[in-house]
Assembly symmetry: C2
Homo-oligomer: 386 residues x 2
């Protein structure tokens, strides 16, 4: 067969053709009205995607840059912060906080569970000097999605600010930055925002700005104050040269997302997850997360007895051109992950699931061809009926 590649990892993800092409257009200078218009359109669009009226700041960087920005801009060495981590990206917040010499209260929950709001509330009561709570919205390494709404309620009436990494959530999963009391919401371009990697954003609440005023850690490239000042100037721009071609792309991609409608996009992701889930279960596989509520960005699946996740990933890629992801850190070899966050529809899942059926049969895990895809179709019909 002619090899075609199907990028089905939880980021980077495929780009709509019209977004890809816009990058090939001539570079425009970032201090011209044409750029300003494009840039403001993108930022104002992002506010709609994040459901926020807070300042949305953008950086030429991948999402981790904005995560570091949250730590560097809001805190001082010695500040106590609570990091809730149940996967690789939760851990990253703790690593960054320790790099900045914050006092990290590390709440590690099981990787197949969601963070327990009660534990967070208790820790906030026990240690009232906690100044920040860091949580991952969609933990890409496990597929788990946390209940940010409840965590936001728990943090709201404390002095602490809530910092949320929604790099693989924003645009795909229900996320209400302002309503849920998220003080710093961090996201990146390369997942549901359907843009190549290299742009990051942070939405910063008034409560967080009070922290920014007092913070004593160094921040320059990721300085929130500098970014806000430049955006609020007569000719809104970024303090440093922006990634012009990526801004051109993301401006287009945000348009596409808003045209679909935010709630329609959330529903699409839920549908893709429920179809994928039904399919792999019909194939006789087991899902990794114990908490499936809200887990609509990536489906993490346990590798069946005797077959490693890596083998499945390699076979899918080499033989079928379908690129999915394995497990990371402690989950290496134990799980594999199918991403459906971003520019995907049902037929992308049909490709991935068909390839998975062929792969499992080839690797000695026999199953009835079509059993998984059939189950996905049934869920699709049910969810799209009427």
């Amino acid at each position: 067969m002619i090899r075609k590649e199907y990028l089905m990892t939880p980021g980077p993800t495929p780009i709509p053709p019209e977004v890809s092409l816009v990058q090939a257009e001539p570079i425009i200078h970032h201090r011209t009205p044409a750029y300003t218009e494009l840039f403001v359109r993108m930022v104002e669009g992002l506010k709609k995607v994040l459901l926020t009226e807070n300042d949305v700041l953008t950086f030429a960087a991948s999402g981790t840059g904005a995560m570091e920005g949250a730590v560097a801009n809001c805190f001082s060495p010695g500040d106590r912060v609570l990091v809730a981590a149940g996967g690789k990206f939760g851990q990253r917040f703790a690593e960054i906080a320790r790099e900045y010499r914050l006092e990290v209260e590390y709440y590690e929950y099981a990787w197949d569970e969601a963070a327990d709001v009660e534990v967070i509330s208790r820790l906030l009561r026990e240690k009232p000097d906690i100044k920040g709570v860091f949580v991952t919205h969609s933990e890409t390494s496990t597929g788990i999605v946390n209940d940010i709404r409840s965590i936001g309620e728990a943090v709201r009436d404390t002095p602490a600010i809530l910092v949320v990494d929604s790099i693989s959530g924003a645009g795909a999963l229900e996320l209400r930055t302002d309503e849920w009391n998220i003080d710093v919401l961090v996201t990146g371009s390369q997942k549901a925002l359907m843009t190549p990697p290299g742009l990051a954003a942070a939405a910063v609440s008034p409560k967080a700005w009070e922290y920014v005023e007092k913070a004593g850690s160094p921040a320059f490239y990721f300085s929130f104050s500098k970014a806000r000042k430049k955006y609020r100037s007569d000719t809104p721009e970024t303090p440093f040269t922006p990634a012009v071609s990526l801004v051109m792309a993301m401006s287009k991609a945000v348009d596409i997302l808003l045209q679909e409608g935010l709630e329609a996009a959330w529903e699409r992701h839920r549908m893709l997850a429920l179809c994928t889930r039904a399919a792999v279960q019909a194939m006789g596989l087991e899902l990794f997360p114990k908490v499936l509520e809200r887990a609509y960005a990536v489906t993490a699946i346990k590798a069946p007895e005797g077959i490693s996740g890596g083998e499945i990933v390699r076979h899918m890629n080499r033989v079928h051109g379908v690129i999915i992801a394995g497990g990371q850190e402690q989950l290496k070899g134990k799980i594999f992950r199918i991403g459906h966050v971003g520019y995907y529809n049902f037929f992308d899942m049909a490709v991935a699931l068909t390839a998975l059926e062929l792969t499992l049969n080839a690797l000695g895990f026999p199953l009835e061809p079509g059993s998984g895809v059939g189950a996905a179709e049934r869920v699709y019909l049910e969810l799209t009926a009427g």
Copy 2:
């Protein structure tokens, strides 16, 4: 006339069509052999462009990010550093160093002069606890290019490391990272590297690595150690999601630059600068820099009596579609700048110079049409003869 746009600013600069188009190709996952090959090719190519065997680290960020990386990775609060600044980008090093609470010895030279090596040597003798010397290679805001070779000799035998911003120099101007004893060389994608903005690089010497070991400032996204470790692993990559489409582009652009030949590219930039210079002088204008040696990246020109630089920039853009730059900070209104760093040949200059002749005539600075372009042609013929 049909409007065509000619981007003639000193960054971002135009992109070769084949580099533009590569960005529109499907996103490849950054943990696949295809990406690794592309990425290694780019980094090893960059080493050839920078004439270095030091570790070359890349970041999804604009050049300022790597400048901050140099400060954050190599120093600790309280360290004394010498910053030589004669323009906006020299100042930026001082701002970053102060943000990291370094003790800044600020040597400000006149904006129309180059840094005086004797002053740097004297300061290093007087304050032997200076741990770092920060210099701008090509100061984009003034057109001045510093004598990095001599500064490197002055710093070499001291305990200090030499940090050089060559964002608008690398690939355009003679630059010999290792031979000139540059310990941290910082550059960006969007000038002579003929790629859109959003990628930065740092070449780090063994002497600088000793500083990195001891440094006490926080560094995470721009961590040199993390970047080196990942690049040296079995599957070279970056610690955080790379800007895939920009890496695809820069890999191609570096190929194009190396195919032209590094010394040929330097000679091309020198030729474009000498042509531009001769042209504007023939038009009766005065060059801004007093030191013209090595100043081949951008030509800074004094606005003639009674006409502001901004007026010239605006007229060139609005009427002729030729986008040049004005003066920054203290030079606002006083100068205008024509960039010729990157993907330019003689005919690009012919366009810019013709438009400038038309503009000056329109703004009440009469001159003989063709006088500037003619002078440029004569220099071109002379330099390309034989």
